[in-house]
Amino acid sequence: MRITQGCFSFLPDLTDEQISAQVQYCLEKGWAVNIEFTDDPHPRNTYWEMWGLPMFDLRDAAGIMKELAECRRVYGDRYIRVCGFDSSHGWESVRISFIVNRPKEEPGFRLDRQEVAGRNVRYSTRAYAATRPEGERYGGP
């Protein structure tokens, strides 16, 4: 399966040139861009690990692309995403987020159903990969 979180997951994987253009778009909007990675792609896993702090005063996408290359070198076996944060009043949150790196294999999720009173069902979504400890889930870089 292919996890379709983020803004561009239905398109072919972005080239570095395409990623750079999106980063530049964020910077021109005045947003701080950061890089996050995880090996727990559960849809409600909000807090991916941060690759350093958001780059608040960056002007050129090249700075992010350099960090992304480094992050991929270390965590290339995991999901990596780029996020743009808008600090303006009334938003103060993420404006864009898109995946820029995926594990070679994406085993996806198991849906557990617990039958409870009446016909009600309690659902749990579990990433197959997350049954293993963090760092051992996608076979290393």
Binding site: M1, I3, S9, G90, S93, R119, Y123
Partner: protein, 486 residues
Amino acid sequence: MNDQSITVRGRERYRSGVMEYRRMGYWEPGYEPKDTDVIALFRVTPQDGVDPAEACAAVAGESSTATWTVVWTDRLTAAEKYRAKCYRVDPVPNSPGSYFAYIAYDLDLFEPGSIANLTASIIGNVFGFKPLKALRLEDMRLPVAYVKTFQGPATGIVVERERLDKFGRPLLGATVKPKLGLSGRNYGRVVYEALKGGLDFTKDDENINSQPFMHWRERYLYCMEAVNRAQAATGEIKGSYLNVTAATMEDMYERAEFARGLGSVIIMIDLVIGYTAIQSMAKWARRNDMVLHLHRAGHSTYTRQRNHGVSFRVIAKWMRLAGVDHIHAGTVVGKLEGDPNTTRGYYDICREDFNPTKLEHGVFFDQHWASLNKMMPVASGGIHAGQMHQLLDLLGEDVVLQFGGGTIGHPRGIQAGATANRVALEAMIMARNEGRDYVHEGPEILAKAAKTCTPLREALEVWKDVTFNYESTDSPDFVPTASAAA
């Protein structure tokens, strides 16, 4: 027209009998509205022979303190404060016999935080007043002091996006079709296919409640099975607007609680349940971390004709106060009424913290929202993937684009239809962010994306000639004039 006050004062004012409204204190051309006044702008069409100022004063009177005759009991009150004051009357451009009446109401006339009370005054009696041929409430200025007495949208655009983990693009939805007749099991099939194919939301239609072919519990159970299956299949948060509209509040609470118990992120109500029920559900939604979708069922009965009724921009303002998170606000290019400039005005009312006066969009007042949450506008009705560049240009990024027929009607099935829409959207967002002239290059961008996406290619082929070009019945009265520098 906007000359001197002719209000009768002192003892003469209260002599028993009938007196013209404009002499009773409801026509005060010198009045300067206070920052705390509620201001209403009406389009007044008096009966032939009725003086415009008198007609407008009558609207002020009948929507505040007046009755048809002088009453001495006025003298027991601070009557001058409580009288609504028409302070300006302008002829409507290109519309002989109609007038814009600006009327100011003191804040003390209204119960805090109650749309029912606000509307009982402003549109309560006056629309049936005999000396008027027609009357339309065009716009309102709601003072910050009053705005702050309302909860506002239960969730708001930003928190909704955070909860759904979806940023940087419009959300995608589809209304399940056919809107009546599917069993719960078949209904859930449509939901599953559409969500798995790439939509974020599916939606109950306005008239799906609990009917012989599908009891509401069946629908909820199968929809949530579908939602959870699709979440597991994609790794994305998905939702289906479960319509909780019902005959009584008790029924609606029961349905909403069942939806919550099943883990739904969103419920839905219809405008026809009424303002008080809407506010109750908005409070419930805030207490229960639920996004609240409003379908504006019924609104066209009073919003569509330009001479009589209530403009949708006013309904949108009331709904932002009342506290819904989603509101249908038009598509411009789709099958339902929607002039581009007027629709733009609605979208601004939903999404901005401050609306400057913009007559060309039908926005007559500066409106501060005082950090009240933003409402997500929903564009639904006769739109398809081939219009993606126009939709993004006209409606922006914070909107739910609902492709019902444009998903379910895809020749290769619902998943393919959903995928076509999602690919078209992502390709368009990417092109826009790259700085391309996506409005003009839209068809090329879509064609290129379709090279690697067969469903999109098929969608573009099937719906390539579909447009809905009819003249709008509700367009702004003012057009921008080119400035000398332009």
